[in-house]
Structures are given as C-alpha cells and as structure tokens.
C-alpha cells in the first residue's frame, strides 16, 4: 500500500512539473514570437518605401535564430502583409503574422501597425 501511495505521488508530481515546464515553454515561445512580429513591423516601418504586398504577404527574413545545438529551434515563419486602409489613402496597414510549431500544434500570432505614406 505504501508503495502504491508513493507511486501515485510520484506520478502526480511528475505530471505537475511537466505541465509547469510546458507552460513556461509556451510563454517563452509566445514572447519570442511577439518580439519577432514587432521586429518585422519595425523593419517595414523603417523601410524607405512601403510597397503593397500580394494578398498572401511576403516572408520576412531574419538571421538564423539558432547558432548552437543547445538552442531551441522555433521553426518560425514570419509573413508581412501591407494593405491600404479603406477610406484613408494616406495610410497603410502593416500586419505581421508569425507562425510556429508548438509541440506539433501550429500556432499563429498577429500584430498590426499603421504607417502614413505620401500618396
């Protein structure tokens, strides 16, 4: 009986810690993805010209996100969409869509920014 209680507690602790680590991983991935989206928008904001993109967007290139084997490969894909704002000829909507894989589940994060352009 003591061994049974011991095993139950062991499995419960293991499950709790596993879930806690998974939450932490998820939070880090969300944070990194949000900063990548912000970086893509800042790049587009600082660019000389603000060209409209095709409806499917254009991929944004970043330097390799991993340099050593110890780092986690997020496998992220960042796509930038630039579209006109309806009724506002001097405004463009910049939208960065970040997609990555969270333990086999695809996840998406979107950030938008408005930029004024000279017609």
């Amino acid at each position: 009986m003591a061994f049974g209680i011991f095993l139950t507690v062991l499995v419960a602790v293991w499950a709790l810690l596993g879930r806690s680590n998974r939450h932490q991983e998820l939070l880090w991935d969300e944070f990194v993805a949000a900063e990548l989206a912000a970086s893509a928008l800042e790049q587009a904001f600082a660019a000389d010209r603000c060209e409209l993109t095709p409806p499917q967007g254009v991929p944004v290139q970043f330097p390799p996100l991993s340099t050593t084997g110890a780092e986690k490969q997020l496998g992220v894909r960042v796509v930038l969409h630039v579209a006109p704002v309806a009724g506002q000829s001097g405004l463009r909507e910049l939208k960065a869509v970040v997609q990555w894989d969270q333990r086999g589940q695809p996840r998406t994060l979107t950030r938008t920014l408005l930029r004024r352009v000279t017609p």
Binding site: V13, L17, Q24, F45, A46, A47, P63, A70, K72
Partner: protein, 181 residues
C-alpha cells in the same frame, strides 16, 4: 505438533530493512528532483519577466535615442538620450545590464539594472546612414537562457532551452552625423 510461527526470522528482517531503505532513498531522490525542477520552472518564469521588461525598456530607449554608438565588436550599445546615456552590455555574471549615466563629462555610471541571463548579445545598425524616411534600424540579438543555473553537462531533459530574441527597432536620427558607426 508445532504452533503458529511468531515473529520474523533474521533473513526476513534484513530483506524488509533493505526494501524500506531503498524506498526511502528513492523517495528522497524524487523529492530532490521535484524541488530542483520546480525551482527551475520558477527561475524560468522570473527570467521571462525580466526579458520582457528589458525588451520593452530597450525599445523605448532606442526610440528616444539621439545618438547610437555600437561597440566595434557589437557586444554593447550606447544610446544617448536627452540628458542621459544608457548602455546595454553583458555583465560579468552573465546578466544583461542596463547602465545609466548623466550626460556630464566624467560622470560615473549610475544605476545599473540587472536583466535576464544571456549567453551572448549582439547589436548592429542595419544602415549607418538614415534612409529617405529618416529612419535607421537597430538590431539587438539576445540569446536568453531560461535558467541561470543551467549546467551544460546536465542531461538534456534537465536543461532549459535557450531562446533567441530579435529586437529590431526603428529610430529617427536628427542628422546622419549623429548615428554612430
């Protein structure tokens, strides 16, 4: 005719003692593992908060900078604001540091805030001269580790993976001469 046997034999007592000892040892090992793992998770959450705080501070500092000077090796950056200079660098303890100094000749570095643990940092200006929009882009690349005590020799399951933070921030320079090399 012999009656029911009473008590345990010496061998039975030895076996029971060894089994109890093994169970106690395993339990103590599990408690130590649980405590260590929960401590790692807590440190990871704390590092995440620090990294988020520093990323926001960094972007705000860059946006308000009038002069940006990136070190030749790219391991630190100085941002001159209206009346202060803010430097981001990697401290000796492996933590990202934000040091503030008043813009006075010979003024010592003032408050230094310790940020997340980083294995490496790199700063770069994408274009030293502002383009037609009058904007430059400063890129910071921080390799954050979620656990300050991560032992590289530890088994992979115990190591918390690192995250590469890319912080591109546009900044407006008053004139092209104000942007450092």
């Amino acid at each position: 005719m012999s009656g029911p046997r009473r008590g345990f034999t010496f061998i039975e007592l030895i076996v029971a003692g060894v089994l109890c000892g093994m169970l106690i040892l395993i339990a103590l090992g599990q408690v130590r593992w649980a405590a260590r793992s929960s401590g790692q998770a807590a440190r990871g959450a704390a590092e995440l908060l620090l990294a988020a705080d520093f990323a926001e501070r960094f972007r705000n500092d860059v946006r308000g900078a009038r002069l940006v000077t990136v070190a030749r090796r790219g391991d630190s950056v100085e941002l001159a604001l209206a009346d202060t200079v803010v430097e981001y660098r990697r401290g000796d303890d492996g933590r990202l540091e934000r040091a503030v100094r008043r813009r006075l000749a010979g003024a010592a570095w003032g408050p230094i805030a310790a940020g997340p643990t980083v294995r490496s940092i790199h700063f770069a200006l994408s274009n030293a001269k502002p383009d037609a929009s009058g904007l430059c882009l400063l890129r910071a690349r921080w390799l954050c580790t979620a656990d300050a005590d991560t032992d590289p020799a530890a088994p992979a399951a115990l190591r918390t993976p690192c995250r590469v933070l890319v912080l591109d921030t546009a900044l407006r320079a008053a004139s092209e001469g104000e942007v450092g090399p």
